[in-house]
């Protein structure tokens, strides 16, 4: 069993960190995992994405053309990854930052107004965790409580005050996805 997840957005939205958090969780569950970031001259405001592969067996290629899951945090990411998700896969869309509906009929679309929820919570930077919470609710690749444990262990010290809001954000995302 292998699941490939692409997390994509603008630099600064936390796509890379959300992917890393999944990788830390997978490691702690003794699964095989790879986290491969886009890296380039782009920084905040540019595009940033990562590919996370979680598997029960040794992982060959750390890159894939057709992921099982894409979490798209902005319009360029939706345009790029919507056509690439495997049939029967999952596409999580940050509906706050896209001005169109996803068109695919052969995949599951989870639409979450992540930026609006984050702003309501008073912390714009939580959008990534809201989307991750929504994804895990719809496709339980990793147990949400284990992700929370991993976050507790790996959140940078200077961001520790954001631990609790991050956990709440995941739950908010999950409730949108289940509703």
């Amino acid at each position: 069993m292998q699941t490939e997840i692409i997390f994509s957005g603008f630099g600064g939205q936390g796509a890379l960190f959300a992917g890393q958090l999944m990788a830390y969780t997978a490691l702690e569950l003794d699964k095989h995992v790879t986290w491969f970031p886009s890296y380039g001259p782009e920084m905040r405001g540019g595009t940033a994405h990562c590919t996370v592969i979680i598997s029960d067996e040794e992982i060959g290629s750390p890159v894939v053309t057709n992921p099982s899951v894409a979490v798209v945090m902005n319009l360029p990411s939706l345009d790029k990854y919507e056509p690439l998700v495997k049939p029967d896969g999952v596409l999580v869309v940050n509906s706050s930052l896209v001005d169109r509906e996803a068109k695919r009929k052969d995949i599951e679309i989870v639409s979450v107004p992540a930026n609006e929820i984050a702003e309501e919570m008073g912390e714009k930077r939580l959008a990534n965790m809201i989307l991750l919470g929504a994804l895990l609710e719809r496709l339980p690749i990793l147990p949400a409580d284990k992700v929370a444990d991993a976050l507790d262990r790996h959140i940078p010290e200077h961001r520790r005050s954001l631990l609790e809001p991050n956990l709440v954000a995941m739950k908010r995302g999950a409730s949108v996805a289940s509703g």
């Binding site: 890393q20 990788a23 830390y24 490691l27 095989h32 995992v33 790879t34 986290w35 491969f36 970031p37 890296y39 380039g40 001259p41 992982i59 060959g60 290629s61 750390p62 890159v63 894939v64 053309t65």
Partner: protein, 355 residues
């Protein structure tokens, strides 16, 4: 020790520290800069030497100096930076001092880009600097191998008094995977440094380390010694990993990242009933010519996959000696082949042989 989620660049840097590396010299360049950053933090903490040189030319000559003093030393860089080091590497080879160099290759030629590439195969494996010399070249395909081969590199460098190069690529530098670091080895004490090292000639005759032999008769002796060392390394240090070759009709030969991408393609091809396996050379020098030669008796055709225009391909063909057809698939300039592309090449190969 437990597995941790480690980035390739951090992992090989920490592995070097744990292997007893006492002095690191380098200059930042993407996609290997995290290694330099890691060293800049950890080496002073451990009261060891970290020095960011003014250029790669300076860095490799500092490494040369440290190696002459018999300390475990290394540098790391990426393609254009490694090109700048070639003169120093040739002097190091001529002086027969142990040095570890890591090349996290990127797209070229020229300034190129920072995306993953394997286009420095010829440069690293065939020498690169002037003169007859062959560094040991090891090609990891996972973060764990980045760690294990770096530790081994220090031992091999000292065993043979040679350069050992780790040939990785931008993808391996940037990827994070679970991996296990080795225990910390203590730094060697001054009295335990090798007998040939320049440690201050107190109560002994002076040691001389040089790469200048004005008399060709003497220089030829040095060259003959280097060739004898080459033969010894070829006899003892061949490394490779094979997968699903037992009943294979076809073999894919690929190293490093191209090797693990080919591994995914092979799994797919097997699911379609194509009997194909993977031969992944880990030591690029010494190259596993003998095993490739044998393999040519076991399979009907081979496919070489590289992230370059076909460099290791020439070594595979030397090993095959024309016994079976060898085809090639490569992406260049920082492009990484996708498993589907490799699968298509495997399918083509299978069809061409059946027809």
């Amino acid at each position: 020790m437990a597995k941790e989620l480690l980035k390739g660049n951090d992992a090989f840097a920490e592995a070097a520290i744990r292997a007893g590396c006492e002095a690191y010299f380098g200059y930042p360049i993407t996609p290997q800069t995290e290694a330099l950053e890691h060293m800049s933090k950890r080496m002073p903490e451990l009261r060891r030497v970290f020095l960011q040189a003014e250029s790669e030319v300076a860095a490799i000559n500092m490494v040369y100096g440290a190696a002459c003093a018999g300390v475990r030393t290394m540098t790391s860089s990426s393609s254009p930076g490694i090109s700048l080091m070639m003169e120093g590497l040739s002097y190091i080879a001529g002086s027969e001092v142990p040095v570890v160099v890591v090349n996290v290759m990127r797209g070229g030629p020229g300034l190129g880009n920072i995306a993953p590439s394997q286009a420095d195969y010829n440069q690293m494996v065939k020498g690169g600097g002037h003169g007859d010399y062959h560094p040991i070249v090891l090609a990891p395909a996972t973060v764990q191998e980045m760690i294990d081969l770096t530790v081994e590199a220090f031992d091999l460098a000292e065993k043979y008094r040679t350069i050992v190069a780790i040939l990785a690529d931008g993808s391996l530098g940037q990827i994070m995977e679970p991996a296990e670091l080795p225990p910390m080895q203590p730094v060697r004490k001054l009295k335990d440094r090798p007998s040939w090292a320049l440690t201050g000639a107190k109560k002994r005759d002076p040691n001389i380390i040089s790469s200048i032999y004005i008399d060709p008769v003497e220089e030829e002796k040095v060259n003959l010694r280097l060739m004898a060392k080459k033969a010894e390394i070829e006899a003892n240090e061949v490394r490779f990993r094979e997968l699903l070759l037992d009943d294979a009709e076809f073999a894919v030969v690929a190293f490093g990242t191209a090797g693990r991408i080919a591994q995914s393609a092979i799994t797919e091809a097997r699911a379609e009933g194509i009997k194909v396996g993977l031969m992944r050379p880990i030591s690029l020098f010494p190259f596993p010519y003998e095993r490739i030669h044998q393999l040519a008796d076991e399979v009907k055709a081979m496919l070489v996959v590289e992230m370059n225009g076909g460099q290791m391909l020439e070594d595979v063909r030397l090993g095959v000696e024309g016994k079976v057809p060898v085809s090639f698939y490569g992406r260049m300039g920082g492009m990484v082949p996708m498993p589907e592309e490799v699968l298509e090449e495997i399918q083509k190969l299978a069809r061409s042989v059946k027809n």
